[in-house]
């Protein structure tokens, strides 16, 4: 067990932007929410999943909504403080541990707001090892874990208790409800036991976010390339170095969908890359050939500063390194690829591990 203070929170926030794979929402707002909670209630404990008793009650805490909404209709602490009480009222169970559903983006840190207020530990794990746009796209789904009973509450005083037939139905109902409430709500979902958490979750996901954040921070301080530091530390692959020439982007059914077109610079002069995104970056093609795809992580980082550039923000003129990081082994299975691979998002391509791209470049 260790304590998460403000510096650790800053590192997790920066690293979670990389794990967001272009999506997951701007963690700055989540960081402010968590920092505010830590300042009011004191530091939060982060526990290794092995420290969690098998019979403990564990639950994900997550914000649900649209990234473009959260920076304007800001999340409020009161919802994160109340959401777990509501689930307990619904299920009659007391939860001893909270955990992020995704270590990528804003939701890496939203559980800290609940944990600080309730004086509960956060588990160093998550249900993705990255960010995904649908709430059924989590590792517990691969093992039969259920998203419900779940609870979702908003700032207008609405509370929704949900029991669903499948996790896809939970996604459909939650999406409709969050849209009705104005695209920003807090939820507690996927209640599970400690034993299930150990079997189902991506271990060490928050430590990984913190490591990546620290690597970028220290590289900046030492004036060395943050991009190369991250690649080295995380066994990543440099997929492309280029300048953004054009971005096609549209908002559809609550998602930011589009393609960024890059032309090569440095070692990639004369080559092109397209990065295809639906909230998250889901596929990257070099000269038309797929070099990386979901569930592996694809991220654009500004060349000089290493600043992660989300799909919502990437635009003409940016000079970026596109990197690929291998997905957690939970995802690299037949069931994992079926749930989160490129075909799941409508791309007619086969998943290939990002390491294979090394041979190409």
């Amino acid at each position: 067990m260790r304590t998460i203070d403000e510096e650790a929170l800053n590192d997790i926030t920066l690293g979670s932007t990389i794990l967001g794979s272009g999506g997951g929402g701007d963690p700055y707002v989540g960081m402010l929410l968590a920092r505010d909670a830590i300042r009011r209630f004191g530091p939060v404990s982060l526990v290794d999943i092995e420290e969690v008793p098998d019979d403990a009650n564990v639950v994900f805490i997550a914000g649900i909504g649209a990234p473009g909404v959260l920076i304007e209709k800001l999340p409020r602490a009161v919802e994160y403080e109340r959401v777990l009480d509501e689930l307990e009222r619904f299920t009659g169970v007391t939860y001893e541990y909270v955990c992020p559903i995704e270590a990528g983006g804003l939701n890496a840190v939203t559980p800290f707001a609940t944990a600080a207020a309730r004086n509960l530990p956060v588990i160093d794990a998550d249900g993705m090892g990255r960010a995904f746009p649908h709430l059924e796209m989590v590792t517990p789904t691969l093992y039969g874990g259920s998203a419900t009973p779940m609870v979702m509450i908003d700032e207008h005083g609405n509370t929704m208790f949900l029991e669903s037939a499948t996790n896809s139905w939970a996604e459909a109902y939650a999406r409709a409800a969050v849209l009705a409430s104005g695209a920003n709500a807090a939820s507690a979902l996927y209640p599970m036991s400690g034993r299930q958490a150990k079997e189902w979750l991506v271990r060490g996901a928050l430590s990984m976010a913190q490591d990546i954040g620290r690597t970028i921070r220290e590289a900046r301080e030492a004036h060395v390339s943050p991009v190369h530091a991250v690649l080295e530390k995380q066994s990543g692959v440099l997929l492309f170095t280029g300048k953004v020439e054009e971005v096609e982007r549209r908002n559809e059914r609550g998602w930011t969908i589009g393609t960024a077109h890059l032309s090569g610079i440095d070692g990639d002069v004369g080559h092109t890359m397209t990065v295809h995104f639906q909230n998250e970056n889901l596929a990257a093609k070099r000269d038309g050939e797929v070099v990386a795809s979901s569930p592996d992580l694809i991220m654009a980082m500004e060349i000089d500063t290493g600043e992660p550039i989300p799909a919502e923000e990437i635009r003409y003129g940016y000079r970026v390194a596109v990197i690929g990081l291998p997905a957690d082994p939970h995802w690299r299975t037949e069931a994992g690829i079926e749930l989160s691979g490129p075909r799941r998002f409508g791309y007619d391509i086969d998943y290939r591990p990002v390491e294979d791209a090394v041979a190409l470049t």
């Binding site: 700055y28 402010l32 473009g68 304007e72 800001l74 104005g182 059914r253 440095d266 000089d304 000079r319």
Partner: protein, 520 residues
């Protein structure tokens, strides 16, 4: 009426230049004074010695005065922030501000029910009675400036407008800056800009009164224009209400000036002033803009402004006696009293550079006793820092030229490793030259209904309209271009029936500006 004057009011020096086209007719550099108008008067008097004021067609002014006020937290007024949202809010306005600045601007935050959803629908009804209570509290506190924001006001400004009317009714003598007029989507960043603007209003009013008086006193009757962050100009009337739009004009002017003085359009520009060296990249004659959320003196902003790296190296930078420490302290505008070459006691970067053979200033004999080892050590440190920053500013390992401007620019010639610099004639007044060539702009900011049309079509329509407005303000039709385009779908969850489009076009003045060019 064919000449133009460019004035740059910096933290250390006030520069003025009289230009006939691109030809420098007269120029001067004089110290910035506590009351900036004294320095401006001195500079104008000097450049007008052989010029008939009646020949001046326009006066362009760029100033870092307002960003310096924010950085030093002085000259700022206390501000009350009113946010329309659902109470209680957790992420309050000014949440991430430096303590010193917050101490000066105040912590007077009021949350009142109101605001809009992402699609413009009301979040909750505006609590008018609550607003009246807040107005009473603000009235009692004696604060004279309000910054007003509302959730999703860029999508639906009505709640903010209603609140403005209510607050103005209750507090007729208090200024109100509305967030929609200052920033874009991103509530905290928009509020930051709104609060800073409100806080600067009285200083802006004093400075602009002074500017008008001092220019008029020299017999010039031409229009006076102020540089904005994006390289276009605004009228003084508008600058009184929106001083925040001038705060990043310094780097824009110096980089534009470097391009105009050298004819080099792609370069790393190093602007060496009294306190800092600002390093940025010039691409096709314009500064490269920042790609990430930027901090203005520690306050997060979402303005599009040049990507500039500041080093604590300037003419007034203090050097330790053994040369082993360079800065970050600087004697700033007191260089002419405190630097050794001017008879002072403090060893500065100017002193070691003059000792090493840079263009003389003051009395070089006064630094003759500075040991060689001190000079070598200090110059080595300066060289390392500048070279590193230049390498960072470059986007690739090519032979991009490095252009040095600013009052302290020529000092870099004696620094080892920096022998290949381009130091143009008149390097010291590049900012004033850049200011004088600020552009005419035109902006469209409107909500378009998408029924029967497409996003691409309305974007094209807005671009054409912004271009026409820029031309109307005086931009050269052949050279006008789109400098910023931004569209926000107003129903981004389920359809897409309306879009808020902001487009800005800009171009160089085809002829002298008319009396009221609009750079908004």
């Amino acid at each position: 009426m064919s000449l133009r004057i460019g004035i740059d009011v910096g933290g250390t020096n006030t520069d003025a230049v009289v230009l006939d086209g691109r030809r420098v007719v007269a120029s001067t550099k004089s110290p910035t004074t506590e009351d900036v108008t004294i320095g401006i008067r001195a500079a104008l008097t000097e450049v007008l010695a052989d010029v008939d004021p009646a020949d001046i067609g326009s006066v362009f002014i760029g100033t870092t005065h307002f960003i310096n006020a924010i950085a030093q937290a002085r000259g700022l007024e206390r501000v009350a922030l009113v946010r329309l949202a659902t109470p209680p809010q957790s992420l309050l306005p000014m949440i991430d501000w430096p303590d010193r600045l917050r101490g000066v601007v105040g912590d007077d935050v009021h949350i009142v029910a109101g605001g809009a959803q992402f699609d413009g629908a009301p979040l909750s009804e505006v609590d008018v009675e609550g607003l009246r209570d807040v107005a009473r509290k603000i009235g009692e506190s004696g604060v004279r400036h309000i910054a007003l924001s509302s959730v999703f006001s860029p999508v639906n400004p009505e709640p903010e407008l209603l609140a403005e009317r209510v607050l103005a009714e209750e507090l007729p003598d208090v200024s109100i800056t509305r967030s929609t007029l200052v920033g874009r989507v991103g509530l905290l960043e928009r509020e930051n800009a709104t609060i800073l603007n409100a806080s600067l209003l009285e200083l802006a009013s004093r400075v602009i009164d002074g500017l008008e008086q001092v220019v008029a006193s020299t017999g010039i009757e031409a229009p006076i224009l102020l540089s904005q962050n994006d390289g276009t100009v605004m009228t003084l009337e508008r600058a009184r209400l929106y001083p925040i739009f001038t705060i990043a004009s310094g780097p824009t002017n110096s980089m534009r000036g470097a391009a105009l003085l050298t004819g080099i359009e792609d370069a790393v520009v190093v602007d060496v002033g009294g306190t800092t060296a600002d390093i940025g990249l010039l691409q096709s004659g314009f500064p490269r803009e920042s790609t990430v959320a930027l901090s203005l003196a520690g306050v997060r902003s979402n303005f599009r402004i040049p990507d500039v790296l500041s080093l604590a190296i300037g003419g007034g930078t203090v050097i330790a006696d053994d040369g082993g420490t360079v800065g970050p302290e600087s004697v700033g505008f007191r260089i002419t009293e405190q630097a050794r070459v001017f008879g002072g006691e403090v060893l500065t970067f100017s002193d070691v550079a003059v000792r090493a053979g840079a263009d003389p200033m003051g009395d070089p004999a006064l630094v003759a006793d500075v040991p060689d080892a001190t000079v070598a050590q200090a110059l080595r440190i300066v060289g390392e820092r500048v070279i590193h920053a230049v390498e960072k500013a470059k986007l690739s390992a090519d032979d991009t030229p490095v252009v040095v401007v600013g009052g302290g620019g020529p000092l870099l010639r004696v620094v080892p490793g920096l022998e290949d610099l381009v130091v143009p004639e008149h390097a010291g007044i590049a900012n004033a030259v850049g200011a004088a060539f600020a552009e005419a702009g035109g902006e469209v900011d409107r909500i378009y209904d998408l029924s029967g049309t497409t996003r691409a079509e309305v974007l094209e329509q807005a671009k054409a309209e912004a271009t026409a407005l820029a031309v109307e303000s005086g931009a050269d039709e052949a050279l006008v271009r789109i400098v910023d385009a931004d569209d926000v779908p107003l129903t981004h969850l389920g359809g897409g029936s309306a879009v808020r489009v902001r487009v800005k076009a800009a171009g160089p003045f085809a002829h002298q500006p008319a009396t009221t060019p609009e750079g908004n």
